[in-house]
């Protein structure tokens, strides 16, 4: 379990993280969302013990990261945003080096190596140096480094950067599987990625948490009005006036052979049936009627703009 209490991080005069709190339990896959400079990577760096907080505390499995950094690093796997790797090392040697820092014996290493090769699809690059790997494979090697010691907690900063669509689907599936038994906290700029992979989303903006909950909960809470668009044929001036009386706040645009009607409504106040009946009753023809609701991207923009 990760508990973050009143976490503050200042870089000289700049307040990168301004008193944030959240708790993540095992078996949760949590997405950490935020614009560039929102404090996302700084928070993850504090969680991994790379940086110290200015104030507040981080408890991992009930232990303070500041006082038990060495023990906690053994149970946390971390993939940094830029995925820095020793480019001149062979992939096997790099994984061996990481495993040795975790005091893994030869048998455990072989077992773990087989596991990460299979999970990350590394069988074709074990005999290559890191610099010989493609960007996608480098990302997989970084992920394998974070997972070689089978950590209870995985912190992944932008894990799908540089991967092609097929690889993204594979890694997404891998993260979801890992999330069944581990705590996974991942950040990403790709909102569809977050939406498809995680159970819960934490949105951070200018160092503060502005939303925290499941995707469904956030959609319900922050979803604005629904935008409706209808295309109607046979609209006369008189019918248009009548239309405006029956349906408030509509906007009508004249097209070549029809009229485009747009309006916004709340989800509890659905006018579609009334619009359909009105059009039929007034002997007009409804060519098309569609609605558009806020997606995660709209909510993200709304909360972080």
């Amino acid at each position: 379990m990760i508990q973050v209490k009143g976490l503050i991080k200042n870089y000289n005069e700049v307040e990168a993280v301004k008193s944030i709190d959240f708790t993540i339990n095992h078996g949760e896959v949590v997405g950490f969302l935020g614009a560039n400079g929102a404090g996302k990577s700084t928070t993850l760096k504090i969680l991994t013990g790379y940086l110290s907080p200015t104030a507040g505390e981080v408890l991992i499995e009930g232990l303070n990261i500041e006082n038990h950094s060495h023990e906690l690093k053994k149970i946390v796997g971390y993939l940094p945003e830029s995925n820095p790797l020793y480019s001149e090392m062979y992939v096997y040697d790099l994984l061996k080096f990481i495993a040795n820092t975790h005091n893994m014996n030869e048998d455990d290493f072989k077992e773990s190596l087989d596991r990460v090769i299979s999970q990350c699809g590394l069988s074709g690059v074990m005999h290559k140096t890191v610099q010989e790997c493609s960007k996608g494979y480098k990302q997989r090697v970084g992920l394998a480094c974070a997972m070689i010691h089978n950590p209870k907690i995985l912190i992944l900063d932008e894990p799908v950067t540089g991967l092609d669509p097929n690889q993204i689907i594979e890694i997404r599936q891998l993260i979801r599987n890992l999330g069944k038994e581990k705590l996974v906290l991942m950040s990403s700029h790709i909102l569809q990625e977050i939406e498809a992979t995680v159970d819960r989303i934490i949105i951070i903006d200018k160092g503060k948490i502005v939303a925290d909950g499941t995707t469904k909960k956030l959609m319900n809470k922050f979803m604005g009005s629904i935008r409706l668009t209808a295309e109607v044929v046979g609209m006369t001036e008189a019918k248009l006036e009548k239309f405006k009386v029956n349906f408030k706040k509509i906007k009508v645009t004249k097209l070549k052979n029809s009229h485009k009607v747009t309006m916004q409504y709340n989800k509890n106040d659905d006018p579609r049936e009334n619009i359909f009946n009105f059009v039929v009753k007034n002997k007009m023809t409804l060519l098309e009627m569609s609605t558009k609701t806020d997606n995660l991207e709209d909510i993200f923009r709304k909360l972080t703009h």
């Binding site: 790379y50 940086l51 690093k73 001149e88 090392m89």
Partner: protein, 237 residues
Amino acid sequence: MNNIINTFKKEFSSYFTSPMAYIFLVVFGLVNGYFFSNTFFLIGQSDLRSLFNIIPMVYLFFIPAITMGLIAKEKNLGTMEIICTLPIKEHEFVIGKYLAALALILIGLIFTIVHFFTLVSFGTNIDYGALFTGYLGLFFAGAVYAAIGTFSSSLFDNQVVAFIIGVFIVLMFFLFDKLLIFVPSFMAGTIQYMSVDYHMSNMSRGVIDTRNIIYFVSVVGIFLFATVQSLSSRKWK
């Protein structure tokens, strides 16, 4: 200890996966060989004094060159972030890196033993004790300069800057006892004691004095401690 060995192995092998170690060893051997053989047959003395005089000067540039990337490169590439989130303590990492640089210097010194065999072939009345302590002095001087270079590398993420500052500090420790005429007399003893060359010249005369050993070990300890502190300070930036 495991992490020191692990870091040492990784760093030492990385010297040989890049041209660094080969360039260092070849050029170190050639430069020392040239200056040694240039005067050896002219002076006609059965010792390696000319070698013991030239190696400290070659050290001034070569050691900062092999240590400049130890930590600066990790900072520059961002791999420091990986290291700092692994269960490796800062001092284990620093010592492992330092020992790798020291091992390379030691190999460079071992290569110069060819001159010892030249001496044995042509010389008479060879003072083997003085040769041994001379080499010991060179090793200790290399150890001090490597510690300085490691410290300099920890201060920057640019290897060139780390090299320049490394050369500057190493030069200071080399020159201390050569600048005594510019120093007030009451400070002369202290300044002289701080000089690497002063302690090394004692050893090359065949004297092993515990004061010299304490000096070398202390300076190495101080610079490695400062390196660890420099690395730890990242957390509070």
